[in-house]
């Protein structure tokens, strides 16, 4: 009787152990695949959001010569990483989005790239709702529309801006940018942008530069270079310089297109005196934004040549 009990116990024990080991293995596999699947889903959702960001900015570029604003609302708290690569024909705008799920940010490192976008913002911005506003960059012809991304919970306080800037900001109705006449009127949490006086971001509008600590960002262009000025206010040094470098590449490419157009219209007896050589050579020698101001004399010259020609190229 004793012997039978022992053998029965051993029999039960082995089958249970076998079932437990294989069951645990199956459970482990199931949990492993669920975790993998959730991560893949999050990555897919992040990539979809970053691609969508590129796509929804298309309407911002519709009417050249105008500033336009849209409000972007995402389903959850989101981190947008703004990157830039200046290698290649036009360089690339890189966007990576990490969305929050169950109180934790996804850690996908996959970026979406766009050759035809120019986004200015801090390197990483975090919010659920964002303002996206755009302005055309003309040098001297329309080169591209620049898009500025601002989190809606962040406030930029413009102290004593020139009338043309305060009017523009008021017309855009962006709640994240406020105009005040004294620095003390800014909220304590806001980023102060001084056009006169001294604060964390100082804009020397007439000399064409923005000073942030030790970094100086130069801006230039038609309309007093306002498009690049906003870019300098909202972005960090490396990103700003990279985006301006990409804009210069596109300016050179467009100059070649206009030069080729000049040849086509001249065949029809429609002459143009525009000479792009000086602009193209100064862009070839371009290093950083401090080269913009010396370059601007040839930009103005080309603008005049185009306006007095029989046939305007743009």
């Amino acid at each position: 009787m004793k012997k039978r009990n022992k053998s029965g116990f051993l029999e039960m024990s082995f089958s249970w152990m076998f079932a437990l080991i294989v069951g645990a293995f199956i459970l482990f596999l199931a949990i492993f695949f669920i975790v993998k699947f959730v991560n893949t889903e999050q990555t897919s959702s992040d990539i979809q959001a970053s691609k969508s960001l590129g796509i929804i900015t298309n309407p911002l570029e519709t009417l050249s010569g105008e500033s336009k604003v849209i409000s972007l609302s995402l389903s959850s708290q989101t981190k947008i990483y703004n990157g830039c690569e200046d290698a290649g024909e036009f360089g690339e705008q890189l966007i990576r989005i990490n969305q929050q799920a169950l109180g934790k940010y996804s850690d996908s490192g996959l970026e979406s790239s766009f050759e035809n976008k120019y986004f200015f913002s801090e390197n990483m911005i975090e919010d659920k709702n964002f303002y996206l506003f755009s302005k055309p960059f003309e040098f001297p012809f329309n080169v591209a529309d620049l898009v500025y991304i601002i989190p809606q919970t962040k406030t930029y306080c413009f102290v004593n801006p020139p009338k043309e800037i305060s009017d523009e900001i008021n017309n855009l109705k962006i709640k994240s940018i406020i105009n005040v006449s004294r620095q003390t009127d800014c909220g304590s949490e806001s980023t102060k942008v001084c056009f006169e006086g001294n604060c964390e971001i100082n804009v020397n509008y007439n000399s064409g530069y923005v000073q942030k600590g030790n970094d100086r960002f130069y801006f230039e262009g038609l309309d007093k270079g306002k498009a690049l000025m906003y870019g300098a206010i909202f972005s960090e040094k490396r990103l700003y310089e990279c985006e301006v470098q990409r804009l210069m590449k596109k300016t050179k490419k467009l100059a070649e297109v206009y030069e080729s157009k000049k040849g086509i219209v001249q065949l029809n007896g429609c002459s143009s005196n525009v000479n792009f050589d000086s602009l193209k050579s100064s862009i070839s020698a371009y290093k950083d934004s401090s080269d913009l101001t010396p370059m601007f004399s040839s930009v103005n010259e080309i603008k005049k040549q185009n306006e007095i020609g029989v046939c305007r190229l743009w």
Binding site: F18, Q48, K51, P59, E115, V257, E259, I264, C270, W314
Partner: protein
Amino acid sequence: MVKKTKRSQMKIQQTAFMLIAMTLLFVLAGVFFLGFKLSGLKKQALSLEENNALLLVSKLANSPEFSCENSFGTKRTNCVDEDKVMALKNNGGYSKFWGSSNIEIRKVGGSERECTAGSYPDCDVIKVSNTQQRGTYVGNFVALCRKANVKGYIEDKCEVAKLLVSYEVKNG
């Protein structure tokens, strides 16, 4: 004793078969679920491509590479500068710029004659970017303007055309 061992072996086999069957069931369910999710993912990718093409075609006519700007008097919306587009076609380097497969302009009621440096302006189809890939086209009507020499006088000549952008439909 021998009978007992045989019975326990049978039990172990039963458990093993049961576990194998369960594993297979889970695997099959997993494969089915993944296939379902993957087809959803493909649909999402296609929808993104379609949206991109639709929004691109509506903004392309006003982009610096296509728009008339002030060449024909005042600034006009949805006006494409034909001379500039021909210059752009000859210039190259824009193959990946808009992230779309093909971009072409077709004059409404025109022939299939493609515009090249030799045939321009007596032609009706300008293939700006042509990757030879098949895709679905979305289009937008535009005014296609150029400078024309009529009996020694320079005139602005505008025609109605359709700006077409294709997006790739990936199969498999």
